[in-house]
């Protein structure tokens, strides 16, 4: 952490987006995480993505649990709604909030401890239900707040800072999300913002459960030789399936690529995610193939990143439940208790 607040002065060329804010307006309090923490880079990527998408900060709810990662919502979007839940319970609180007011943008920020250990059940069900949210796991493979014990996502055979080898099998959250029916699944790396920012933007614009696993090296406890979540290891073994250009509905598509190199994914609101294929045969529309690809590469010790799967026609929880178009929190007594006649009608229908 630092002792001084980040100076208010900004670069003279800093501009405002369509919402009337500069990028600096999307910042939060100065981080109290360790210097060099990958999480701070993810916060910066979220700030960048929200600025580029002209998001109105007061229309965002950021929710988190407990842990280093779950502290980070304090460090971005200070003008948004925030909720720190009980350890591992962010998905449930987020689901409840989303049911009450479906019009906000839900940003669930969690870590490998909060989501893969204590909150694994919560994670599973929120994904399975298709809650419309961006679920970001800041994954560093260790419990940083308690000084670096292996977490559930630490790879088998990887070494702790003290030299102890991990003997437990890792939990693969990307694989689980695919299997559980997430309609948007991606993996990023905190050290690669050119890839991460478009991923976050695409996830924000996706309607449905968007899951984003971001490898985020823990500089204090998991950035040594033998770790598979260090800056060096991820850089050496990063296997990007594709590169993303997130194209806003307003922008004209001007860049030309050779045929077969591009895949355009049109989202609900007309936004286009343009993928430049890096792995020749990879298709982000095939859930089964994605799982296979992931496991193949993982067996070779590679870390697959990029947009791994997206369902363009996804439905979310509200769609499944066929809720009314007005957010539930805005329904007044008149709509909620329509009177005796209406009740009789319903009862009659059930007889």
């Amino acid at each position: 952490m630092t002792y001084i607040a980040k100076p208010k002065l900004h670069h003279p060329s800093l501009t405002c987006n369509a919402a009337g804010f500069t990028r600096r307006d999307y910042e939060g309090a100065v981080s109290t995480l360790c210097a060099g923490c990958g999480h701070d880079s993810i916060s910066a990527a979220i700030i960048q993505a929200c600025w580029e998408l002209d998001i109105q900060p007061h229309r965002v709810a950021k929710l988190s649990g407990i842990g280093c990662s779950s502290k980070t919502p304090t460090y971005f979007l200070s003008a948004s709604h925030g909720f720190n839940t009980v350890h591992g319970r962010m998905p449930s609180v987020l689901t409840g909030a989303n049911l009450a007011n479906k019009e906000l943008l839900y940003l669930g920020v969690s870590g490998d401890g909060d989501s893969a250990s204590i909150g694994i059940g919560q994670f599973v069900h929120a994904i399975r239900r298709g809650v419309n949210m961006v679920y970001i796991v800041e994954n560093n493979g260790v419990y940083g707040l308690t000084k670096g014990q292996f977490s559930a996502t630490a790879d088998l055979g990887s070494k702790s800072k003290k030299g102890v080898t991990n003997t437990d099998s890792p939990l693969d959250m990307v694989g689980m999300a695919l299997q559980l029916g997430a309609s948007f699944v991606a993996r990023g790396f905190s050290g690669d913002k050119p890839q991460l920012v478009p991923l976050i933007k695409a996830a924000i614009k996706h309607k449905g459960a968007a899951f984003l696993d971001v490898i985020s090296p823990c500089v204090a406890f998991n950035n040594h030789p033998g770790s598979t979540k260090s800056y060096d290891y991820v850089r050496e073994h990063n296997e990007a399936a594709n590169r993303l250009d997130f194209i806003d509905g307003r922008d004209e598509i001007t860049v030309d690529y050779a045929a077969g190199e591009l895949i355009d994914v049109t989202q609900h609101d007309g936004n286009v995610i343009r993928l430049r294929k890096l792995a020749a045969s990879y298709s982000p529309h095939d859930r089964v193939a994605a799982m296979n690809y992931l496991h193949e590469r993982s067996a070779k010790g590679e870390v697959v990143t990029g947009l791994l799967y997206v369902d363009e026609d996804a439905h979310d929880l509200h769609g499944h439940m066929n809720t009314v178009s007005t957010p539930l929190n805005r329904l007044a007594a008149k709509e909620l208790s329509p009177g005796k006649k209406a009740l009789e009608k319903i009862n009659a229908a059930l007889r």
């Binding site: 001084i4 060099g36 701070d40 880079s41």
Partner: protein
């Protein structure tokens, strides 16, 4: 781009914009920090060493440092009006608040045993006094010849007392004379030949540019009694030969002398005083703050009026006519003043002060003694670095060398000439100039603690309080500016960005985690592919469009990228270093001190160091 070589003193020196812009290269941020710490004596001595006249310059300097100050660029698009740190007036704070006795005790003492070499300085202005200050403590016998009784030159006789009290001049000239410098007042040098015949080992000419330019237009001779050359008139005011002026005064000219003339007129009976300039208000040579001061005293500045005639009746001046003009730019962008065709303007007046420029005059230097003059301007041929004339033991400096400039340039010339004289009289090649003394020391005190205050102030520039106008216009000797009080001095000092505390990058320990990029409030840092500078400048976190500011480029990092830092608007807040997990960034204080005359500038000193 090639990796930046930070071992070259110029690289970090340029980052300290104020120090780089200062002709004498005063370590500005260092003394501002000392002022903030209340260490006025130390701040004063840093100034004294480098610019010799802190109290005088703290009131009258042309402040080339301020337009260069990074704070002015940093505040662009960040608030009402971007303003540099009030460097000049902070300098005055240390001069005003120092302990005079303690300062005197820390000054060099007169040398007991002289080295037998004699130096003559012509004129006792800032250039000559600087030469004397630098050389006397080394054992040279320095004799300063001055036409007036006291030392100070232009600073004493032309700069009005309401801007610069006489006791400040007495004090700072006194510090120099106390070093054992011999001042021969009331001694005008009329012949260089005679002076050279006195067998001085070296002669320094610091006689200034003493002649005010005249304006030969119809009526000049007939109305001469009420038309005055500004420079001479200011001197007459100082010597109290002139104690009043007419009620209606026109001042011609747009330089600082014109501003001193009009403001002096206001104090000597001028009620309707106006300044009239040929060209536009913006193009005037006077410093913006001096124009502001004049306007504050109710003096209008009228522009685009070219003097045509002095109108007189019965041998008495009654007014002036002016041709109205407008500015036009030709194909080459040169500005021309073109008559608008409107009828001439007429302004009534009782007196006119002509302040349209000053000139050098060397009627006293014989042209057959080996000092060559150029044919076009009739100026001595002087080497721009060594200040040597074509007669090897004669040196020039200040306005006498290259025409009218200002006090701080005169001081810088004096230092350079003193180095040359010292080397010359030690039989060394004077073209080999001494390197500055440089140090670069980490300011790290703890994990997130620095030995400088890195919290950036958001305050706008503080104005120096003025004495009440009703009071100041009554007497020509009442100083207008009151100087910062302790509280506003501290607050103003805190606006300084400490640009001398440099961001130093060690490539080998960087893990490319982006922490510095993310925290930097000014988007100065980028990790990117290397390329041509013009291209790299457009591909940074924020475009680096100020080509006068360097890019700090590292050698190639592990990922094949390089670190590029745009120095332009860095706040030197140290957050990059605080957020760096490996210490690849460090905040190090760069201290650069010019090497003045003395052992440090001699050849053997270099050998010893090597």
């Amino acid at each position: 781009m090639k990796p930046t070589d930070i071992r070259k003193p110029d690289y970090f020196h340029k980052v300290v914009d104020c120090q780089w812009a200062c002709p004498a290269h005063t370590p500005v941020p260092e003394y501002i920090r000392l002022i903030a710490a209340g260490r006025h004596d130390d701040a004063y001595l840093i100034n004294w060493k480098s610019n010799v006249f802190p109290g005088i310059l703290g009131r009258t300097c042309d402040r080339p440092c301020e337009p260069a100050c990074r704070r002015g660029r940093v505040e662009e698009n960040n608030g009402e009006k971007p303003e540099p740190v009030a460097i000049c007036r902070l300098k005055r704070v240390c001069a005003d608040n120092k302990d005079a006795d303690a300062i005197r005790a820390r000054m060099p003492k007169p040398v007991a045993k002289k080295n037998g070499k004699r130096i003559a300085c012509v004129g006792a202005g800032p250039a000559s006094l600087t030469v004397a200050r630098d050389l006397a403590p080394l054992g040279y016998h320095v004799t300063v010849f001055e036409a007036d009784a006291k030392g100070g030159g232009f600073m004493r006789t032309q700069v009005p007392r309401f801007r610069l009290p006489e006791e400040v001049i007495d004090e700072e000239v006194g510090y120099i004379l106390d070093l054992g410098v011999e001042l021969r007042g009331n001694t005008r040098i009329d012949s260089m030949k005679d002076l050279l015949a006195q067998k001085f080992d070296a002669v320094f000419v610091g006689s200034g540019a003493p002649r005010g330019r005249d304006l030969e237009i119809p009526g000049r001779r007939e109305a001469a009694a009420n038309i005055h050359i500004g420079l001479d008139w200011l001197a007459s005011v100082y010597f109290e030969h002139v104690k009043k002026i007419g009620r209606r005064v026109i001042v011609l000219g747009g330089g600082n002398t014109a501003m001193d003339c009009c403001r002096s007129s206001r104090r000597l009976g001028g009620e309707d005083v106006k300044v009239i300039v040929r060209s536009g208000f913006e193009e005037m040579k006077a410093s913006p703050w001096e124009k502001e001061d004049a306007q504050h005293e109710g003096i209008p500045i009228l522009n685009y009026l070219v003097p045509k005639t002095f109108v007189h009746e019965n041998g008495k001046l009654t007014g002036m006519t002016f041709e109205k003009v407008r500015a036009e730019h030709d194909a080459k962008g040169r500005r021309k003043l073109v008559p608008t065709g409107e009828p001439d303007a007429f302004f009534e007046c009782d007196d006119v002060l002509i302040a349209v420029g000053q000139e050098n005059a060397f009627p006293w230097i014989e042209r057959d003694i080996g000092i060559e003059f150029d044919s076009e301007w009739d100026m001595p041929k002087v080497d721009k670095i060594t200040m040597q004339s074509t007669l090897p033991n004669v040196f020039f400096g200040g306005d006498a060398a290259f025409g009218p400039k200002n006090i701080i340039w005169a001081v810088a010339h004096g230092h350079d000439a003193a180095v040359s004289i010292d080397k010359f009289l030690n039989g060394e090649d004077i073209h080999e100039r001494p390197e500055p003394g440089v140090s670069l020391i980490s300011q790290k005190m703890g994990i997130h603690e620095w030995s400088y205050d890195n919290d950036i102030s958001n305050d706008a520039r503080y104005a120096v309080p003025w004495r009440d106008k009703a009071q100041t216009l009554k007497s020509i000797k009442t100083e207008v500016e009151l100087g910062f009080d302790a509280k506003s001095a501290l607050a103003e000092a805190q606006r300084c960005l400490n640009c001398d505390v440099q961001t130093v990058f060690t490539k080998d320990v960087c893990i490319e985690c982006d922490a510095c990029v993310d925290i930097c409030p000014m988007d100065c840092i980028t990790f990117t592919q290397n390329g041509e500078e013009a291209d790299v400048r457009t591909h940074l976190s924020a475009p680096a469009l100020n080509l006068t500011q360097a890019l700090y480029v590292s050698d190639t990092l592990k990922t094949g990228r390089v670190m590029v830092k745009d120095e332009d608007v860095c706040l030197h807040c140290g957050l990059c270093a605080e957020r760096c997990p490996t210490g690849a960034w460090d905040m190090r204080k760069f201290f650069l001190e010019m090497t003045h005359a003395g052992p440090g500038c001699h050849k053997h000193a270099k050998k010893e160091a090597a």
